[in-house]
């Protein structure tokens, strides 16, 4: 039995027929061709598949697609605006927080959920927020610094607009 669902992914509406056992990660990658979201461990430990569901970080490899019918999802592809990288993306580049890049999309989305809720986090709060995202090459020092840098950039931009 197929189910009809609608998803809003990165601001765009999609109507899809899904099987009850279809995993959100596979829908995003194989059907919407949004390859930024990664398949890592498949058992909810590594965080590579992290996406935002209604603004909150969740694991797309642990989510059956039918359970997010009608919801708003943000993937890494949704962060860039009119060709400009999101401050988090830019900070990851500037601070050398990317090496192989596999954990990066999930890491950035976890960081985005944190900064949206808490614009000026402490290092401890940053570490706590990315505890569910494993990095096996860059190491966490540069990642934490990048998130901190992005928080400052976002704050300064807010000031300039005012």
């Amino acid at each position: 039995m197929n189910l009809s669902i609608t998803l809003n992914v990165n601001g765009k509406d999609y109507s899809l027929e899904v099987k009850p056992n279809e995993i959100l990660l596979n829908v995003l990658r194989d059907r919407l061709e949004l390859m930024g979201t990664k398949y890592g461990c498949g058992i909810g430990e590594c965080g590579a598949c992290t996406v935002l569901l209604e603004g909150r970080a969740i694991l797309s490899c642990q989510t059956l697609a039918f359970t997010v019918d009608g919801k708003r999802i943000t993937t890494i592809e949704g962060l860039e605006q009119d060709g400009d990288l999101h401050p988090l993306q830019q900070a990851f580049i500037d601070e050398g927080a990317v090496q192989c890049g596999y954990c990066t999309p999930g890491m950035i989305l976890s960081a985005k959920a944190l900064l949206d809720a808490k614009p000026d986090p402490s290092n401890q709060e940053i570490k706590q927020a990315i505890r569910g995202n494993l990095c096996r090459c860059t190491g966490y020092t540069n990642i934490v610094r990048a998130i901190k840098t992005a928080s400052v950039t976002i704050k300064n931009r807010g000031r300039m607009k005012r």
């Binding site: 056992n21 909810g44 970080a57 969740i58 642990q62 989510t63 059956l64 976890s110 944190l114 505890r131």
Partner: protein, 290 residues
Amino acid sequence: MDFECSTPRNLDEALEALKAEGAQVLAGGTDLVNSIKINAAKPRHLVYILGIAELDFVTVEGKSLSIGAGARLGDIEHNHGVVSRFPALCEAIDVIGGTQIRNMATLAGNICNASPGADTPPILLALNAEVEICGAGGAAGVQYSRLPLGGFFSGPKKTVLKQGQLVFKLILPLPPEHSGAAFRRLARVSLDIAKINCAAYIEREGDRIRLARIALGSVAPTPVRAPAVENALEGRKYGERLFDRAAGLVAEDIAPIDDVRSTAAYRGQIASLLVREALLEAWKRAGGQK
């Protein structure tokens, strides 16, 4: 693995859907979806309950806190009423998985999954939690029944829930003045499942322990209370020697085994130390002086 699914919008529809043969409740899915992936669970029909608004609540009513089956761990640990009254519950929730897992998983799901090493049952037992179960009652409408959490677990990954039943909510009595609770756990790295965990709750009367409830996980087929420790404490005057002696009695209350995460011998030795730490912290939080 093929299965059917339904997305009920209210409790009546959910209970109706749960009558189907092989039907199973799906909440956050952080345990069940994994089990399905590795063929450890073979549901015929999943009933997804997180679309039901009437299950999604965390409220203080009268003298108790009610946590609906739909409440996610992340919502509970950041709820002001929970943070201010049940810090030890927040501490136990906070060690579960990463942020993503806590944004998905529910407290009721953690209980229903009934893992002997789960992190929330010890503190819920120490806080004297009750479970409200509901089921379809035919013409009588939805039937509700309550039982103490201690009676809910019937074995490793087993509960007393019958086919067609659903946990509606968990109920925690608000802790009185001069009480305190604490949670302690040991795991290899922070995201690991606990080797052992424990919680303590103390009600203080002056320099005496009026009431104590201790519970542990990963040391028996189900999460367990520690009556030997409790009895050694109740009515006594505080003293570090008393806590040492009482914590040492925990061996009478537990039956640890060897498994992938630890050994029976290590768990047996470390249990009394963890209990002692939890007791000291609970006593401090109860306003007790050293």
